[in-house]
């Protein structure tokens, strides 16, 4: 099977005309072998201590033999009252808390929150800061997708090896974050009206070096994964998500695009300076786990393109709007919703201000929580072993699901 041609075919621009081939599948054949003779169902509680549930996620699964007939997600084990804390601290004080939402991509969380406060108060951001934000957001996307692929393969039984390869690359990007923002994961880097510190020329040089080495990792990873017969058997036609269901359930991010819906906030909203960049939006054909997996690989390739352009175009100048006073910051009365295309989907912050130093309402739209809501629809009819793979391909982080 020639996989590289498939990979290219998955990247198209613009909407579909509905002629994509559909692979026929008879669900009854999968059930036949495993139905219990007495017809009794077995209820299994998977998690919250299960190693493959990506944190403290729990599923109550009803099984007929090995086939899932019912699945009820249970979450809230990591609830930290994020939204109420946000309503009781100052606008600036909420910024470090947003790092802890999706602790894999703290920089995109920072950006989404900063964007909504900037919308609320009408703050302008200097040009260099916008470029730095795009660079950091795309680096975040790279390391998030790389580690997701590693985890997903680990869930499938490829113990350790792909995860270590992915983490080796992630480590290089985290080192960049550490030398710029001071912390590997809890970056707390962006502020309303810009970024906290400027990136020096040596940082940009190092980032370019990391970027140049990244495609090699992608090629290697694709060789490891795309043509592997076991991976194909475990992922193709598993956990199929139709475009209709994805749209009506509010699914966003790579998961929605794997179902063939062309919806990328970087193109649709054009926030930041994304309209200045030339990049393609990868789209999937079938919406199964394999497409969701490949979607991440293709998105990483596009992210590399964006980063290359950003390093070329980045201008000199200040990184912070001098008019913004961070201490005792009081935006005018009003409300704003700022959203960005995070690595996991649409991440939005909805803020209502009553003119005081705390937001009156602080609401997070977490992509991994909303992408998780259709887990039962994806898993029905598949085996228990597939549930873990499907869950892995949804890409959740419990810090964001439970908040």
């Amino acid at each position: 099977m020639n996989m590289s041609s498939r990979a290219e075919r998955s990247v198209v621009e613009g909407p579909r005309d509905g002629t994509s081939p559909v692979i026929p599948r008879d669900p009854s054949t999968a059930l036949g072998m495993t139905t219990r003779l007495d017809g009794e169902l077995l209820e299994v509680s998977m998690g919250p201590q299960h190693p493959s549930t990506h944190g403290v996620f729990r599923m109550n699964v009803a099984l007929d033999g090995e086939t899932v007939v019912k699945l009820k997600p249970v979450f809230g084990y990591l609830h930290r009252n994020h939204e109420k804390i946000g309503e009781n601290t100052s606008y600036l004080g909420s910024m470090p808390y947003t790092d802890r939402l999706d602790y894999f991509c703290s920089l995109t969380n920072n950006w989404a929150y900063a964007l909504s406060v900037e919308k609320l108060a009408g703050i302008e951001v200097p040009e260099r800061a916008e470029y730095l934000r795009i660079i950091l957001a795309e680096l975040t996307r790279l390391q998030n997708h790389a580690s997701l692929l590693g985890f997903l393969l680990s869930d499938m039984g490829a113990w350790g090896t792909p995860l270590m390869y992915a983490f080796r690359e992630r480590e290089k990007i985290l080192d960049l974050f550490e030398s710029l923002a001071g912390s590997r994961m809890m970056c707390d880097y962006m502020r309303f009206g810009g970024c906290r510190v400027d990136a020096g020329p040596d940082w940009i040089g190092r980032a370019k070096k990391v970027l140049d080495a990244f495609p090699r990792f992608l090629d290697e990873f694709e060789k490891l994964l795309v043509s592997n017969e076991i991976v194909i058997a475990r992922t193709q036609h598993i956990g199929k998500l139709t475009a209709d269901l994805a749209i009506s359930a509010g699914i966003t991010g790579p998961m929605l695009r794997a179902s063939g819906v062309n919806y990328d906030l970087r193109k649709v909203d054009g926030y930041g300076f994304y309209p200045r960049f030339k990049f393609r939006v990868p789209l999937g054909d079938h919406g199964d786990t394999y497409d969701r997996l490949m979607m991440r690989v293709l998105e990483m390739r596009e992210s590399i393109e964006i980063l290359k352009q950003a390093f070329e175009q980045i201008p000199a100048g200040p990184v912070m709007n001098p008019k913004v006073k961070l201490r005792s910051f009081r935006p005018p009365v009003g409300e704003a919703y700022g959203r960005i295309e995070g690595p996991k989907g649409e991440l939005g912050f909805y803020l209502i201000s009553d003119g005081s130093s705390n937001p009156y309402r602080y609401r997070v739209r977490p992509p991994s929580f909303i992408n998780l809501t259709i887990l039962e629809d994806l898993c029905l009819g598949h085996t228990v072993a597939d549930v873990m793979v499907i869950l892995g391909s949804v890409d959740i982080v419990m810090g964001e699901v439970d908040r």
């Binding site: 601290t89 100052s90 600036l92 004080g93 909420s94 910024m95 470090p96 808390y97 090896t161 390869y165 550490e178 030398s179 710029l180 923002a181 001071g182 912390s183 809890m186 707390d188 906290r196 510190v197 290697e220 060789k223 490891l224 994964l225 795309v226 043509s227 592997n228 017969e229 076991i230 991976v231 194909i232 961070l326 201490r327």
Partner: protein, 179 residues
Amino acid sequence: MIGIGILSGMAVTLRNFVGSYFEKDRLITVQYPEERETLPENYRNFPFLVYDTDDAAAGLRCVACKICEKECPPQCIYIVKSDDKKPDYMGKLQLYPKVFDIDISVCMSCQICVEVCPFEAIKMDKVFELSCRERFDTLLMRKEELSKSNIYYHKIHPVEAAEVDANLAAAAEAKKKKA
């Protein structure tokens, strides 16, 4: 042919295995307690208080204005103002903190205290080997433990400290001209 994909994947792992012994950029393991990497300039973990002269009590830049206590998101700073005033490092009479505690078991290293401080008195430290056997008192840093000299600040954040010193000197110069 079935199996080719698995074999080519195995070739990748084999190449990585061999490369992990010979490729220079792969040999990245640091034998931690004996070897150490230098921390980047911007690295931060917990705050400390800067003092200027040789005397930690007299040279403390902090004037107990309590802004950091108010702005700290997890509320880990506790300050009690002094009743009397004493001259600070520039000779001006100022209040000083009678008590300045930071509970580093609560602190989340966000650097907001540093950003809001108008006196350049609180900065981020780089000490990370702070494990201890007791949860409460040993992780509650008192004023005496938090006070560290400006020389130490120059050592851990050379670029930033030079900038801060230049700013302070410019401010002092401007004040002299006014007076």
